[in-house]
């Protein structure tokens, strides 16, 4: 890959992130333009895919190995593990704080005397409306569809299994087989996301949204961020499948699929914890 590809890629990535930021802003800010927000997010996905496709084509068409000129004494996948450790920090804060808030306001756990005063004080001092655990809309874990979510949990577990098979094929240099299993994994991931979106729509129609008490806020915060990770994972899987179909994994020993696999298993791991803490408790 020549140097001008690198700088052009960085330029495209900058524009892509700008679109992502603009899209999220429109969706989050009060009175934001939702259509514009979703449009910008769509453009982000398109530009991300185009950018990554350019990188993949440059690499596959090059005769040099991907790690040409890179010498390192670090263990395998060091940077991916480092990235995952930052994800551990992110999700520990998100899930841990949500659960801590629940322990202090959900009457079921009997700790309400401890935290309710603290949380109420914060709300009073910030002049916020404090609706307690279920809020005025009475949105509680009992309103969630456990059967549907159990199906979703099985989908993610099975997708982790197909991912492992894809990694095995990629290690053996069977690029085409690896790509087929990557696409199956992406398809199962997309089904998961589709079910989650339909769950959101059903909840919105019943009047349950992120403003429906603390449970509503933490529920959409946790599952929403997990869903966003699944979306990124699906994009990565599709790109890896394209690379495989273009002959990118035909030589044994390529590590790309394994790295994407680590990310995908981590997303599955987070769901295992979320399913227990958010849906079953």
């Amino acid at each position: 890959m020549s140097d001008d590809h690198v700088s052009l890629g960085a330029f495209f990535m900058g524009i892509s992130l700008f679109l992502l930021g603009g899209g999220i802003k429109e969706l989050v800010v009060k009175d934001g333009n939702t259509t514009l927000g979703f449009g910008l997010l769509g453009l982000w996905i398109v530009s991300f895919v185009v950018f990554a496709f350019m990188q993949i084509r440059a690499r596959v068409s090059s005769d040099k190995p991907d790690n040409e000129g890179v010498t390192s004494n670090l263990p395998k996948n060091t940077w991916m593990w480092l990235f995952l450790s930052s994800e551990v920090v992110f999700f520990t804060m998100l899930i841990g704080l949500s659960f801590a808030l629940r322990l202090t306001v959900d009457p079921k756990f009997g700790l309400t005397g401890i935290g309710a005063g603290w949380l109420g004080h914060v709300h009073d001092s910030l002049n916020l409306k404090y609706d307690g655990w279920v809020g005025n809309d009475n949105f509680a874990p009992e309103d969630l569809d456990i059967i549907l979510t159990t199906v979703n949990t099985f989908l993610l577990i099975i997708s982790s299994y197909t991912m492992v098979i894809a990694v095995e094929h990629a290690h053996k240099g069977e690029g085409r087989k690896a790509s087929i299993f990557l696409l199956i994994t992406a398809g199962i991931g997309a089904t998961f996301l589709g079910i989650q979106i339909s769950e959101y729509i059903a909840l919105f129609n019943e009047g349950f949204d992120p403003s429906a008490g603390l449970f509503g806020a933490t529920f959409f915060l946790q599952t929403g961020f997990h869903g966003a990770h699944v979306l990124v994972g699906i994009l990565l899987l599709i790109l890896m499948a394209i690379k495989g179909f273009m002959g990118g994994f035909d030589k044994p020993g390529n590590n790309d699929v394994e790295i994407v696999g680590l990310y995908w298993h981590f997303v599955d791991l987070v769901w295992v914890v979320l399913f227990t803490l958010v849906y079953l408790l």
């Binding site: 593990w81 804060m93 756990f109 914890v273 399913f275």
Partner: protein
């Protein structure tokens, strides 16, 4: 194949989890007992995913890897996240 066995174990654990989660109230189980049982199953499932699917079991130093990637970040952030509980 080992992965098929892991998949089966994860599926069985999930079924047990859902049965306990949806019937705990009817069985007269306390919220904290239910929490401990369900969380133990979740940790079991997470360990299977980390050990086999993420190939950590086959890394040269699995214990160090788990401690560095999962243990250390959680040891630092979990106390901060659970901070609200300790305020009256």
């Amino acid at each position: 194949m080992v992965y098929t066995k892991v998949l089966a174990a994860l599926a069985v654990a999930t079924i047990i989890e859902v049965i306990v989660g949806t019937n705990a109230g009817a069985w007269g189980m306390g919220e904290w007992t239910k929490f401990i049982i369900l969380f133990a199953i979740a940790i079991f499932k997470a360990s299977l995913i980390i050990a086999f699917f993420m190939h950590v079991k086959y890394e040269p130093k699995p214990l160090y890897l788990v401690l560095l990637v999962f243990g250390a970040p959680m040891a630092i952030t979990l106390p901060i996240a659970l901070f609200p509980i300790f305020f009256a």
